[in-house]
Symmetry: C2
Subunit: 293 residues, 2 copies
């Protein structure tokens, strides 16, 4: 059973799960496990790892349109190096500070590989799900795409400073809170923009027409990619950029754009499901980042 | 740096941590990571693992005297076997049902060893901490001690059925909620009764006099241990029984005992810090379960 099948098994057993975060009794809750070989390229500092791991969970809270309350992390490593642990905690705390959440510690475990499991909690009685997109709505995103793909190239080149810098993203909690009233569907782009659009389509039972020229690609992608294929692979499919991908009615666009503290870009529109999911004149492949070891 | 030193480092950096669960904005939050080689003896079913992992976090919520709201788990394994994953989820859900919490799913990850990280959330504006014990108070516990030590023996003997049965404990959430108004200090006994008493003493700056004859030792311990040393080692030091260890004034004992749905036993009293921590006529060693691989 691969991970996507396994996730479907879990979702079938757990009606509260299946969105970016579970909603229970006015709370949104989400958890993620990351580990060294798959999630933290050589050169990633523990400060960045703490930031990024906790940030990934906070991004799921943001995707529900909920203010973040708190985050915790379990930290496992072959040995406890005080400097590494302190750096991890500082990174975790700094990303929480950025979104007005409290980092409240966690658990320690021995493990043969550096592994961390993070949980973030938000509070809302009116979350936005993946399932509300309507044909005619606009498809929008926050921020830019391809930062994490570019970061990986910098790590590969030995420029860890630039890699770490690009890896420290701002979870879009403040934007999510501003967008919650207008967004008809929303999620974060952790698995890549293309896959996110497919997931919104599946949850909302609709199609999408995406305009590649409108996709805001990070400048860093230009600096590190080689040719058009590489460029679009990084921008659309690599993922882990943790931007918000959402839909809203055309009449709400101006209000949403001016309310969001992060730039909002319209990149396409919602179509009938029968029209499929297109990028310009062709199909947009459902290809994205798949967690694997 | 060993785990206790590492935990102190974390606690120093994070004033909200350091008790059984962190308290933030009316919520209590706690996370734990467990893995196969150290926490799940051969013979432990995935159903029991799900129960126990989520139960351990719910027990921390109970120790704060808070009703439990929800729990999540991240599940990592070398491969995703559908039956194993379903069993884990059933165990997690059943232990949540037992304490009126909602199990809301989690994350999946590849890992070379079965690993799970669980988070439980409770809600209270009036938690009880480890730090409020006063000389003259009584020392009490819920339930019985030595179940997990006995379970390990059954697993070693190949009696997995009995081992799994003893490993499925009831988190004392309902008892914690009934005791919260009377308890002056409370924690759970995950690191063993002896270490718990030492931790209460450190947090409350007091001493304890424990009466061994009063300690409620589970019948299973009698069945599997060999001699008095083995018996007391299992009951006092092995840990992982997830009972509540708490203090209250003598005048509150009768009310607490009748209110708690789990039997409450008085096992000693709080003394001045200068009197140390004693078991009958001698010192009670600060020796307990230390997580190690």
């Amino acid at each position: 059973m691969d991970e996507r099948t396994a996730l479907r098994t879990l979702a079938a057993e757990l009606p509260a799960a299946g969105d970016d975060a579970a909603v229970v009794d006015g709370l949104v809750v989400t958890t993620d496990m990351l580990h060294e070989t798959t999630d933290f390229p050589t050169g990633t500092t523990r400060y960045t790892a703490g930031w990024r791991a906790v940030g990934a969970s906070l991004s799921d809270v943001a995707a529900m349109g909920a203010p973040a309350v708190a985050a915790v992390a379990a930290y496992a490593a072959p040995e406890f190096d005080e400097d590494e642990l302190s750096a991890f905690v500082r990174g975790a705390r700094d990303v929480c500070d950025l979104v007005d959440a409290e980092y409240v510690g966690g658990d320690l475990d021995d493990h043969d590989e550096f592994t961390t499991a993070t949980t973030a909690i938000g509070r809302t009685h009116d979350p936005v799900f993946r399932s509300g997109a309507n044909p005619g709505d606009l498809l929008c995103v926050t921020g830019t795409f391809g930062r994490s793909a570019a970061a990986l190239r910098y790590f590969e080149r030995g420029d860890a400073e630039r890699g770490n810098d690009l890896f420290q993203f701002e979870p879009r909690v403040a934007a999510g809170v501003e967008l919650v009233d207008d967004a008809t569907a929303m999620m974060d782009s952790s698995d890549g923009l293309a896959r996110s659009v497919h997931q919104l389509a599946e949850a909302s039972d609709c199609g999408f027409a995406v305009d590649s020229a409108a996709v805001p690609v990070d400048d860093a992608v230009d600096d590190v990619t080689d040719g058009e294929n590489d460029y679009w692979e990084s921008a659309l499919h690599f993922g882990e950029d943790f931007e918000l991908v959402f839909t809203l009615s055309e009449s709400a666009l101006e209000r949403a754009t001016s309310a969001s503290p992060t730039p909002v870009t319209r990149i396409g529109r919602v179509t009938e499901g029968s029209a499929g999911i297109t990028l310009d004149d062709g199909p947009l492949p459902d290809k994205g980042y798949t967690h694997s070891s």
